[in-house]
């Protein structure tokens, strides 16, 4: 299982803040997980629409080619706007 988190406008668009997902065998990196989730269609297309989507794997900023494995925490979110 991987824990997937969504924040801010993306959280609102997909209608949930987190989910536990059994990682399909063919998914080995963030980009593949992203495509898998966006392919759910409907509200999930927000994942593909979000401009400059940011990713964190195990709470570290990561890129689409970052590898993921069982037990990881993967977060998707828009560019940050704190401060």
């Amino acid at each position: 299982m991987v824990k997937v988190l969504y924040f801010a406008g993306l959280r609102e668009a997909v209608g949930q803040s987190s989910e536990q997902l059994a990682l399909p065998a063919e998914i080995g990196n963030v980009g593949q997980l992203h495509a898998h989730l966006a392919a759910r269609g409907g509200a999930w297309e927000a994942l593909a629409r979000t401009k400059n989507l940011r990713i964190a794997v195990n709470q570290q900023m990561a890129a689409m080619d970052a590898s993921i494995r069982d037990g990881d925490e993967v977060a998707f979110f828009p560019p940050v706007t704190g401060g």
Binding site: A8, A56, Q59, A75, P79, V80, T81, G82, G83
Partner: protein, 150 residues
Amino acid sequence: MKISVQAEDFDLGAECAALARSRTDIGAVASFVGLVRDANDGAGISRMTLEHYPGMTEKSLAEIVEQARGRWDVMDATVIHRVGELKPGDNIVLVVVASAHRGDAFAACEFIMDYLKTRAPFWKKEETPEGGRWVDARESDDVAAEKWKA
């Protein structure tokens, strides 16, 4: 070093005093306070909600302060960022840096703010007369952070 993500307000004077307490080798304390403005991008703002990524937020702030310590003579530092519901005039963020001399204190304080704006996982949602809207990231913030790479 103190890192705090909290709903409660902070006291600039108390935080500055706390850094310099019990030591006499500090010669400079530089601080920055960010506040909620009552207008943004042409709309009036009645309140704002700050969301963050618990766990990653604290780690990323600690990493940013560590990077500052690697570049300048930072003797101590405090970063406090508020979350939850805020209204115009409220404090949002505090950075205080203590050093032997002002140059390092000023530079490290600005660096921490510039990196916080572009790397720490916080998001602002503004309440305007037309309804709620998520604040867009500004290109000028990326430019400000980039300048430290030179």
